[in-house]
Subunit: 104 residues, 2 copies
DNA sequence: GCGGTGTGCAACCCCACGGTTGCACTAATT
DNA sequence: AATTAGTGCAACCGTGGGGTTGCACACCGC
């Protein structure tokens, strides 16, 4: 096990996707609305939104005939917690090894 | 600004790289040593190590004629803290909007 | 001196992926 | 009825990057 969270990071690894995310963190927006603010086509944005939705970083809300999207902060907090746990584990292990090495 | 941390995530986004990271979190290893444990060539691993070093997730320690690598937990903790901050910000903003909407 | 081991550099292959264009469909608006 | 905005699907293109092979070089042990 210890399955890597690589898929989520792949979703976060693209600059355009990150741009989309931060905007959706500020307010709900449709794909078309995002397209007017960003230098890429609406279809490209639609793909990004699908990718972000897949990993649970974004959710969609139907509003009339359009589809709004918003960023899910809790998801990001969950990832953060996991990373923090792992990072601490690494340094703890290292500290333990060091303390063993310094035994008289 | 609000420059995205995309580069770091790109480093974390690959399954092989994540595999390397977890092993280096457990103990120091050279590129050749990693190559014996992983199903890829030593050169491929060397590239990954360079990428990880670039974003500060790994550091190298010369040991005799070989070069050992170890994972840097503090770096990961830093990223975790940033993500946590952003995620909370998103949800806070959303909660504020909701409370405004519910005014009588 | 010589074989094994660890590293570095370069060229190359291939596929995933970000982006595009084009078209079809539907629902509001007038 | 005609128009317009919003979405979806499909095909296509180009580049980046993960992986490989091959060679050269340095160091250690015998």
């Amino acid at each position: 096990m210890t399955r890597g969270p690589a898929p989520v990071f792949a979703a976060l690894a693209d600059e355009t996707r990150w741009d989309i995310l931060t905007r959706l963190g500020a307010r709900e927006l449709s794909a078309s609305a995002l397209a007017t603010e960003l230098p890429v086509s609406r279809q490209a944005i639609a793909k990004h939104l699908a990718a972000l939705t897949d990993v649970g970083l974004v959710e969609s809300i139907p509003v009339g005939r359009e589809i709004r999207y918003r960023a899910i902060g809790a998801r990001l907090n969950g990832i953060a917690a996991e990373l923090d746990r792992i990072g601490t584990e690494w340094d703890t292990r290292l500290a333990r090894i060091r303390s063993i090495a310094e035994r008289p």
